[in-house]
C-alpha cells in the first residue's frame, strides 16, 4: 500500500508542476493575443460606430454580471468621479 501511495504522490506532484506551467503558459499566450488584438484595433480604428455604440453598450453588461442595477452603478460612477475631481 505505502509504495503505491508514494508513486501516486509522485504523479500528483508531476501533475502539479505540469498543470500549473501549462495554465500559466496558456494564459500568458492569451495575454499576448489580447495585446495583439488591442494593437490591431488601435491601428485600424472603427469608424463612427465606436462613439455611438460605446456608452449604451457598457452599462447593461455591467449590471448583468455584477447583479448591481444600472442606477446604482451610475450613482457609484458619479460619486467616484466627484471624488477624483476633489483630490
Amino acid at each position: 500500500m505505502q509504495p503505491d501511495v508514494m508513486s501516486l504522490l509522485l504523479e500528483a506532484g508531476m501533475l502539479l508542476l505540469v498543470g500549473m506551467s501549462v495554465v500559466f503558459l496558456f494564459l500568458t499566450l492569451l495575454i499576448g493575443a489580447v495585446n495583439f488584438i488591442a494593437w490591431v484595433c488601435a491601428k485600424f480604428p472603427e469608424e463612427e460606430l465606436t462613439s455611438a455604440v460605446q456608452p449604451s453598450r457598457r452599462a447593461p453588461p455591467a449590471a448583468n454580471q455584477s447583479g448591481i442595477s444600472a442606477p446604482v452603478v451610475a450613482a457609484i460612477t458619479a460619486a467616484v468621479d466627484q471624488y477624483r475631481r476633489q483630490h
Binding site: Q2, V5, L8, L9, E11, A12, G13, L15, L16, V18, G19, M20, V22, V23, F24, F26, L27, T28, L29, L30, I31, A33, V34, N35, I37, A38, C41, P45, E46, L49, T50, V53, Q54, R57, R58, P61, A62, N64, Q65, S66, G67, I76, V80, Y83
Partner: protein, 376 residues
C-alpha cells in the same frame, strides 16, 4: 389481516432504512441553507429536493425507469447540462475589464494552484486509513478549487461519477461560503497599506475587441488544448452571441430561460446522486475538507501573485484583487470590493476585481482541460 400486512408493506414506513432517513435530513438541511440562509438558492433548492426524492423507498426515482435516473443519464452522464450552463455563463460575462488589463490573466492562472495543490493533498490523504482516492478521483475533487460549479460537475461526471454528488455539493456550498472563507485569508496576507492601494481607471474597450476576444480564446484552445474545447467552446459561443449584438434573442435565451431550465434539471440530477451508500462515507468528509483547503489555497495563491505582479508593474496593483482569481463570478469580486471598502471607503475595486474574476473562469476551464488530457 393479510390485506393489512400488504397495505403496511406498500407504505414507505415499512421500508425506510437509516441511510435514507439521514440523506433526507441532508436534503432538508440543503433546503434550509437555501431558503433561510440564502446560500446559492438557485442550485441548492433543486439539489436538496432531488436528494429527498431519490431517497424515497419504493418510488424508484433513481432506478432505471425513474425520472431522476433519466435526467441524470441525459444531462450529466453525457456532460450536456454543465456545458449548456457554461454557454449561459459565457453570455452573461463581460470581458472588458480583462481586455483592458490583460495581465490580470496571471492572477486567474495563479489561483488555479488551488486545484493542483489539492490534487496533491487528495492523494496524500491516501496515507490516512479509510481513504483510497485514485488519481481520477483526486482530480475530480481538486477541481472544486476552481470554484466553478459547471466545470466541477463536468469533470466529475467524466472522471469520478460515483463522487459527483459530494463534489457538486461541496463546490456549491463553498461558493456560497466565499464571503466567509476569503476575507480572513485576504486580511492575513495583506497589510493596511496594500489594501489601500488605488488602481488606475481601466481604459474603454472597443466593441470590436470584445467580439474578437472569444474567437481568439477559442482559436488558442483549439490549437493548444483541444480537451478543454467543450467547456471553452460553449463559453465562447455564449460570449460571442452577447458581444456580437446581432443575436440578442439567442443571447437572452442562453442567459435567462435556457440556463434557468437547465439549472432545475442539473440540480435535480445532482441531488439524485445523494444516496446513502454513495454520500454517507468517509470519502465525503475528505472531499468537504479538501474543498475548503482548495478554496483557501487558490485565494492565497491569487493574492501572492498579485503582490509579485505589483512589484514588477509600473501601475499599482491592489493585492486584494488576486483573491478574485478563483472564479466564483461575481461573488469573489464583490468580496474583494467589500474588503477594499472596509479599509478605504472611497476605494472601489469591483471593476478591477472583475478582470481576475473572469480570468479565473478561463483558468479553471483550462485546468479542467489539462486534467482531462492527462488523467482522463
Amino acid at each position: 389481516m393479510d390485506k393489512l400486512a400488504l397495505l403496511w408493506q406498500s407504505t414507505s414506513l415499512a421500508h425506510f432504512e437509516m441511510g435514507q432517513i439521514i440523506m433526507m435530513a441532508v436534503g432538508c438541511l440543503l433546503l434550509f441553507l437555501a431558503i433561510v440562509k440564502k446560500f446559492e438558492p438557485l442550485l441548492l433548492v433543486p439539489i436538496g429536493f432531488g436528494a429527498i426524492l431519490t431517497n424515497i423507498p419504493l418510488a424508484g426515482f433513481s432506478e432505471p425507469g425513474g425520472l431522476l435516473y433519466y435526467i441524470y443519464y441525459v444531462g450529466i452522464e453525457t456532460g450536456v447540462f454543465p456545458l449548456l450552463i457554461f454557454m449561459g455563463v459565457g453570455a452573461m460575462t463581460d470581458f472588458s475589464a480583462l481586455i483592458a488589463n490583460p495581465r490580470m490573466l496571471f492572477l486567474g492562472a495563479a489561483a488555479q494552484f488551488g486545484i493542483f495543490g489539492t490534487l496533491f493533498g487528495a492523494i496524500a490523504l491516501n496515507l490516512v486509513p479509510g481513504f483510497e482516492f485514485t488519481l481520477k478521483d483526486a482530480s475530480a475533487i481538486a477541481i472544486i478549487g476552481g470554484a466553478d460549479g459547471p466545470t466541477a460537475i463536468f469533470l466529475a461526471s467524466k472522471l469520478a461519477p460515483e463522487l459527483l454528488g459530494a463534489i457538486a455539493v461541496a463546490a456549491y456550498s463553498y461558493m456560497a461560503l466565499v464571503p466567509i472563507i476569503q476575507p480572513p485569508i485576504m486580511r492575513l496576507l495583506t497589510n493596511e497599506e496594500e489594501r489601500n492601494i488605488k488602481m488606475a481607471q481601466l481604459r474603454v474597450v472597443s466593441k470590436r475587441e470584445k467580439i474578437i476576444f472569444p474567437l481568439a480564446v477559442l482559436l488558442m484552445t483549439i490549437l493548444f488544448l483541444p480537451s478543454a474545447t467543450p467547456l471553452v467552446g460553449m463559453f465562447c459561443l455564449g460570449n460571442l452571441m452577447k458581444e456580437s449584438g446581432v443575436v440578442d434573442r439567442l443571447s437572452n435565451t442562453a442567459q435567462n430561460e435556457l440556463i434557468n431550465i437547465v439549472t432545475i434539471f442539473l440540480g435535480l440530477a445532482v441531488g439524485s446522486k445523494l444516496s446513502a451508500d454513495k454520500f454517507l462515507t468517509i470519502e465525503t468528509l475528505g472531499i468537504l475538507g479538501l474543498g475548503a483547503i482548495a478554496f483557501s489555497m487558490g485565494t492565497a495563491a491569487g493574492i501572492l501573485m498579485a503582490k509579485v505582479l505589483g512589484k514588477f508593474s509600473k501601475e499599482k496593483i491592489n493585492p486584494l484583487i488576486g483573491a478574485a482569481g478563483v472564479s466564483a463570478v461575481p461573488m469573489a469580486a464583490r468580496v474583494v470590493n467589500k474588503v477594499g471598502l472596509e479599509t478605504n471607503p472611497h476605494n472601489f475595486l469591483l471593476m478591477h476585481a472583475m478582470g481576475p474574476n473572469v480570468a479565473g473562469v478561463l483558468g479553471s476551464a483550462v485546468a479542467a482541460g489539462i486534467l482531462l488530457a492527462l488523467v482522463g
